[in-house]
Amino acid sequence: MTARRALLAAVLLLALGAATVGVWRPFDAEAGGDPVRRLAGQLRCPACQGESVADSQSPIAVAMRQVIADQLARGRTPGQVRAYLVDRYGPDVLAAPPAHGAGLVLWLLPAVVLVGTTGAAIWRGRRRGRGKAGGRSDEHPPSGTRDRSRRRRDRQLAGRRFPLVWNLAATAVVAGVVAVAVVGTLGGGDRPPPAVPADPVPGQLALARQLEQQGQFDAAAEVYRTVLASRPDDGVRLRLAFTLVRSGRPVEAAGLADQVLAARPDDPQSLLVLGLAQRATRSAAATDTLRRFLAVDPANPAAPEIRRLLDEG
């Protein structure tokens, strides 16, 4: 193999690799990780223009993500969840066109065009090769550099070994890309639910955080309560307590902090939220609780603010 041919082969291999990686990555990113996001990515947000349920921040898209998470967690397959949403929002909720009727044409057309053009290109290339290898040189008398280059081309084409290799390689690239695309599109469609069912809690916690950021503390508290009902966790309990303080319900917040402190008397976050709740109810114990918080965790990000509050009195 000459150096030139080796270089060409290397370029070809590189192109094949790049094509495969390029096509595979989007599917892989969709398939891997969060099954809720994956399914949401295949659905169109009914309240938006051209946005998927996974990407839209519209309230109904957020609610649809919650529904997907809930249903997958209950062990329903992605196909069942899709059917549930199609039943409510119609087939237009699916991002991919339906594989029947006119929609089938959209699926088949690219394959037909691909196979057709590849076939035509190969056929043409081979015919031209034969033609050039044949009587062409009689038409134009050979002379100078053109003659040299033609001779080289004729040599390559006459044997048809080189075009054949190229044709096969090009077909392999196209076939590889098509195979990856088909596997990526269809393969993951109705995979059984993961062994560990999707957990709705992370989604709910994200929703609560988002509501907190929007200043909707009541709604956030409601969501934290939902999470707590299924997962009695001290972290969530304290988040709820903080939210309650901010939504003007300090008595309830103090109760939650007390619950955590009963098990862990020196937990700084519980002391902080209890102190703030007591302060909101103008309880005399507030100063004491907040001083304890500062003593337990002087480096806490909230500490400077608490010192300022205590200095104010």
């Binding site: 309230p59 109904i60 006119a102 929703l207 939902t226």
Partner: protein
């Protein structure tokens, strides 16, 4: 290349044919798929059994749609963060006052909202007599196929969806849709659902 490409008759014909095929295909697809999309996929929800609706209400009670067979129930999906809902709620409260004796009931579904904000909205709009089911995560709204707020579903005495409206309803809509479904006025005592 010294040879100029020859424009043969055959080549022109082939180009025209290719353009023609592509155009025809485009038009056929646009028409066929456009028709698919134009038929409102949610229109067939009329006449279907209403989805379930049950749970604790905002005022600490409990509501169950299945237990309200025989009544005409208007299910209104709303939220305190929705402007048009604010204008619509007084109409709904008024309709319930007017038609309660004839077996009409309004159930609000408060989507992705906080109970305090919802209570404040109901008080401000004089709609605090309405039964409201909090839906903080929005899953009830999705179960009903709601796309936004407000959205209204009218459930007939047999538990089937009789009418559905995206966006705020008007007094005229209520009159046209609700009144024909209702029984005769002045029912006997104890007929009020709840």
């Amino acid at each position: 290349m010294s040879r100029t490409p020859r424009i043969t008759r055959r080549r022109v014909l082939a180009t025209v044919a290719a353009l023609l095929v592509v155009s025809v295909l485009g038009v056929v697809l646009a028409v066929a798929l456009g028709r698919d999309g134009a038929a409102d996929p949610t229109a067939d929800r009329i006449g279907r059994p209403a989805p379930g609706l049950a749970g604790p209400t905002l005022d600490g009670g409990r509501v169950e749609l299945a237990g309200l067979r025989g009544s005409v129930v208007l299910v209104n999906v709303f939220a305190s963060w929705c402007g048009p809902c604010r204008d619509e709620l007084p109409l709904l409260a008024d309709a319930q006052r007017r038609w309660a004796a004839r077996g009409f009931r309004v159930i609000g579904v408060d989507v992705r909202d906080g109970p305090d904000a919802a209570r404040a909205l109901l008080a401000q709009t004089g709609a605090d007599q309405l039964t409201v089911l909090p839906d903080p995560t929005g899953v009830i709204a999705v179960d009903w196929g709601a796309v936004g707020v407000p959205e209204t579903y009218l459930v007939g005495p047999d538990g089937r969806i009789e009418a559905w409206e995206r966006g705020p309803v008007t007094a005229g809509w209520l009159q046209r849709r609700v009144d024909p479904l209702l029984g005769k006025p002045a029912p006997g005592p104890g007929e009020e659902p709840g």
